[in-house]
């Protein structure tokens, strides 16, 4: 213990200082993470992504239905030609 470097202050100030550093770490972490995540919540981002995926699917379905409809009318024309 005689080799210990001289240290300033009693136990209480050092303890308070250590706790203050912890509080600063907490504040910095909250600030950094909220700044990184931004104002839009992850739930909202996921909902928006889901909505765009649903819209894409609906568009694809509509396209497929349109192609089927076009094919259907062609076969109908062929059928009508044979009937004549």
């Amino acid at each position: 213990m005689a080799d210990d470097p001289p240290r300033k202050g009693g136990t209480a100030p050092q303890l308070l200082g250590s706790l203050l550093v912890a509080a600063l770490i907490v504040a910095a972490a909250i600030w950094a993470v909220t700044a990184k995540l931004g104002p839009t919540s992850i739930a909202e981002q996921e909902a928006a992504q889901e909505q765009s995926e649903e819209a894409e699917e609906a568009e694809e379905e509509a396209q497929e239905a349109g192609e089927e409809g076009a094919g259907g009318s062609e076969s109908g024309r062929r059928r009508r030609g044979r009937d004549r």
């Binding site: 300033k8 136990t11 550093v21 910095a28 739930a43």
Partner: protein, 139 residues
Amino acid sequence: MEEFLLSLTRGNVSEVKIVLATVVALLAAYQVGLMAVGYGKLQLPFLRPLPASKAHRAIGDSIVAVTLVVAVMCVGYFGFEDDEAVHILLASALLAVLAFKILVVRRLHRLGRFLPALGITVFLLFWATWLSAAVEHLI
């Protein structure tokens, strides 16, 4: 439970969880530094081992409380999803080792020689658990 957590966090369960998990991960790193001073491995001119150890204990109690809140949020809102197996495994190991460490500190004093190893394990598990879940939203 899900509704309670949604109303408590105003629909931001993931965000609150990420913030709290990041706070405890950083505090865990600070705890390692404090105990390095507490065990005399690191000598600082402005901090003696006794206040460093006391601060370690006080901050540790807070970390445990926040960790339990994060665990309840995680299980209560997300449940046990198959695609999060690694995260669930790491988090379960973290809670088990943390509980054992607290037991050694408060009851099983004869196992006190294992505390540094337990502390390092807890620290690594905190970071591994954080990396397995929160980091994807922050990079």
